[in-house]
């Protein structure tokens, strides 16, 4: 299995950190997806664990609550044989950022090989990457990016549709606050898919069409001819009059149900990054329809993609140590 072998020179992924999808090339993305594919095979096998990252330390540093993403990274690290530590830091903007830089400095002194960071402020993970020596994986920063989510979405789509290029993908819901949407827009665009966004205007950020997407307010029109329908979560605090008037109005016009799905291609598939608000953005029964919904598969792909990311970002490190052993 090439994915697990140490290679002397790896042109596949030269980045030191994974801070976002923006700026990655199609080759780099394909390389990560290919590698992740091999980890799906591994994870489905009898022996799920390798010792590729034995003796390596991965710290999950979460300034925002997340069970799913944290668990996924934890499992990915453990399957590769790394020591994984979870750190949750209560964050409030009142306490300002001393916590961020101080925490970074403290953790840096412990020499982690990889820091997986989630933070409620856009750009915070980038800021942190300037202060530490290890590799950083952005596990979601504010409304900016969530690169591993876009990668796992792409892997899920590629495995089911056999390709990304030429597909039409509709991303529906709270685009304004969504890092998942932004990372997916970058990734799908780079890989040659057509991206449509559908949301009420209050949930669309300014000048979003400049990111190479088509914008729709009418969900049926947006879904017409789509291969993939990607739903986004709408936060509770945004449902009641601030961005949309009510849950029932939102579900009526922007919630995914069988009727609206009929506008899409017959074999169109549904995705959701989770956690879902059943009955708000997606019809509950539809979410569980194994013929149409990829939601459970996304979770599985998440672990594989994160294994691939941990693998590539530690290769330089492992290579350097190899050299030291020789000398």
């Amino acid at each position: 299995m090439t994915a697990l072998g140490l290679r002397p020179h790896d042109p596949g992924f030269p980045q030191r950190h994974l801070l976002g999808i923006e700026g990655l090339s199609a080759d780099e993305i394909s390389f990560l997806l290919d590698l992740a594919d091999s980890y799906v095979t591994l994870s489905r096998g009898e022996q799920k664990k390798t010792d590729l990252l034995r003796g390596r330390t991965v710290i999950n540093l979460f300034f925002e609550n997340s069970t799913r993403t944290r668990t996924s990274f934890e499992l990915a690290g453990k399957r590769l044989g790394a020591d994984v530590i979870n750190m949750s830091v209560a964050w409030s903007s009142i306490k300002k950022g001393e916590t961020l830089i101080d925490t970074a400095m403290t953790l840096n002194a412990m020499h982690p090989d990889v820091l997986v960071v989630r933070h409620p402020d856009s750009g915070a993970v980038k800021l942190l990457s300037e202060k530490v020596n290890g590799a950083i994986i952005n596990a979601g920063d504010g409304s900016h990016e969530h690169p591993t989510q876009a990668l796992l979405d792409a892997l899920t789509i590629r495995r089911r549709k056999g390709r990304l290029e030429g597909l039409t993908v509709a991303i529906c819901g709270d685009i304004l606050h969504s890092r998942v949407a932004r990372s997916n827009i970058h990734l799908l665009g780079t890989m040659g898919a057509r991206v449509r966004l559908v949301a009420p205007p209050t949930l669309l950020p300014a000048a979003i069409e400049r990111m190479g997407v088509e914008v729709f307010f009418d969900m049926r029109k947006a879904l017409a001819g789509c291969d993939i329908v990607m739903m986004l979560r709408l936060q509770t605090e945004r449902m009641h009059g601030s961005f949309v008037p009510s849950i029932r109005e939102y579900f009526r016009f922007y919630g995914l149900d069988r009727d609206k799905l009929r506008a899409a291609k017959d074999d169109a598939l549904i995705m959701h990054p989770g956690p879902m608000n059943r009955g708000v953005e997606i019809d509950s029964e539809l979410a569980d329809d194994i013929d149409r919904s990829l939601i459970r598969e996304q979770v599985e792909m998440g672990v594989a993609v994160r294994m691939a990311c941990l693998d590539v970002l530690t290769r330089r490190l492992r290579r350097n140590e190899g050299r030291e052993d020789v000398s």
């Binding site: 950022g97 402020d121 856009s122 915070a124 980038k126 900016h144 300014a206």
Partner: protein, 429 residues
């Protein structure tokens, strides 16, 4: 104090349009005489002779928007360190915002600033007083008394006077004392964001502030000026639309003035780049079209004044995620060279540019400086408009080094700064 003779200077007085090579005599802290043939018979006996070697001698800059941070935040700046920064920048008078801790909203605060300025013995320090108590935007301050004790205008500093009724009363009441209301023109409900609204903010996942936040407040205020007959000044104008609204108001004869800061005609929103907090300012850096409109409005006089909007912040305030980092630039030491770029690009004559930096702000706030004429206080700057150099914030005299202009190439250097005839700064040769 003995006399000083400045010989071989390019004398520039924007108020009178004087631009001539000649000499200038300072006696007793005032300009005793000046002119092309002043020292034709030699300099007066006993006078110190300063050869300006053909460089520009102009009124010292009057910076009408500066945060001194004293009292309350002396770890960022003090009246003394701001004074040091000012003289390096060729600034001889500063006007301080009242957003200190405590807020300057009573007579004692105005007197405190005056006393600390006297002790620092540097540049002339004037202060605005708060337009509303504790800057809360509810009750107007004692405008009459505060003006009597030397407050030079009334403003809520970094906060807009948002309530239309309060603004109406402030503009109206201040008329009794011929005082000006200085507004931070941003509709707060639309200004919750942290950078200019648009593609870049969207890509970065940062909340944007639309240009309309500024336009709406300026246009509302202009209606209130019309209603009250009050005197109004819009601070740090950043958008093409606001400039256009002010241009029309001036054409209608309203008593309206405005200023901008060098970053609004030097940089655009792309300076934020990858979350550079040094480029976070309020109002935010705008689009390239806005930047050009601001430069044009400085040139055509719609924008009356250029102020540094000096906002010193320590590292802790800037080394933060962009959304919660402090906004502002330490600007006193870069005011002249950044402004001179407009002259070098050919958009504006040197005299007109100097007017925006001295004569106009002096006239707006009724300050004594800003003139190079017989009998005027000898507040002057000697500068070489051509000298090229790179800005280096590490060398700022200000306590704070927050500037996005690190390694920014500029042309024009302050050689000496004179306040009341006292040479307070001389550049190293």
């Amino acid at each position: 104090m003995s006399a000083t003779a400045y010989v071989n200077a390019r004398l520039l007085d924007p108020a009178s349009g004087l631009d001539v090579t000649g000499g200038l005599l300072v006696e007793g802290g005032r300009i005793a005489d000046l002119g092309p043939r002043l020292f034709a018979e030699g300099v007066p006996e006993g006078a110190r002779r300063v050869d300006c070697t053909g460089h520009c001698l102009a009124p010292g800059l009057i910076d009408m928007r500066v945060q001194l941070r004293e009292p309350g935040e002396e770890h960022k700046e003090t009246i003394a360190t701001a004074g040091q920064a000012a003289v390096v920048g060729g600034v001889t008078s500063v006007v301080a915002l009242p957003n200190t801790e405590p807020v300057i909203d009573d007579v004692a605060g105005v007197e405190f600033v005056a006393r600390r300025a006297r002790e620092a013995k540097l540049v002339k320090v004037y202060t605005y007083a708060a337009a509303t108590r504790r800057l809360e935007g509810k009750e107007i301050t004692e405008i009459g008394l505060l003006a009597e004790f030397g407050a030079r205008g009334f403003t809520d500093g970094l906060k807009a006077i948002a309530n239309a009724q309060v603004m109406r009363r402030a503009l109206s009441y201040a008329r009794a004392f011929d005082q000006i209301i200085v507004q931070h023109p941003e509709e707060p409900a639309l200004a919750g964001g942290v950078m200019n609204e648009g593609e870049i903010a969207t890509r970065l996942g940062l909340e944007g502030v639309p240009a309309a936040a500024e336009t709406i407040m300026v246009e509302r205020d202009l209606r209130l000026v019309e209603l009250t007959g009050g005197r109004y000044h819009a601070a740090h104008v950043s958008t093409a639309a606001a400039v256009e609204a002010i241009r029309r108001a001036k054409a209608r004869g309203l008593a309206v003035t405005c200023d901008t800061a060098p970053h609004y005609f030097t940089l655009n929103e792309t300076a934020v780049g990858d979350y550079r907090t040094f480029a976070k300012v309020s109002p935010p850096l705008r689009s390239e079209e806005d930047r050009q409109a601001i430069a044009e409005a400085v040139a055509d006089g719609t924008i009356d004044a250029i102020a540094s909007d000096h906002s010193p912040h320590d590292q802790e305030g800037k080394r933060l995620p962009f959304a919660i980092a402090e906004a502002g630039i330490a600007g006193l030491e870069t005011l002249l060279p950044l402004s001179l770029a407009l002259y070098h690009k050919g958009g504006i004559g040197l005299l007109d540019l100097l007017a925006r930096l001295s004569a106009r702000p002096a006239a707006i706030l009724g300050l004594p400086g800003g003139r190079l004429s017989k009998g005027a206080p000898a507040d002057m700057v000697l500068f070489d408009p051509e000298h090229p150099w790179l800005i280096d914030p590490d060398r700022f005299r200000s306590k704070s080094k927050n500037s996005p202009f690190d390694k920014h190439p500029v042309q024009g250097k302050v050689l000496a700064t004179i306040v009341d005839g006292r040479p307070l700064y001389e550049a190293e040769a």
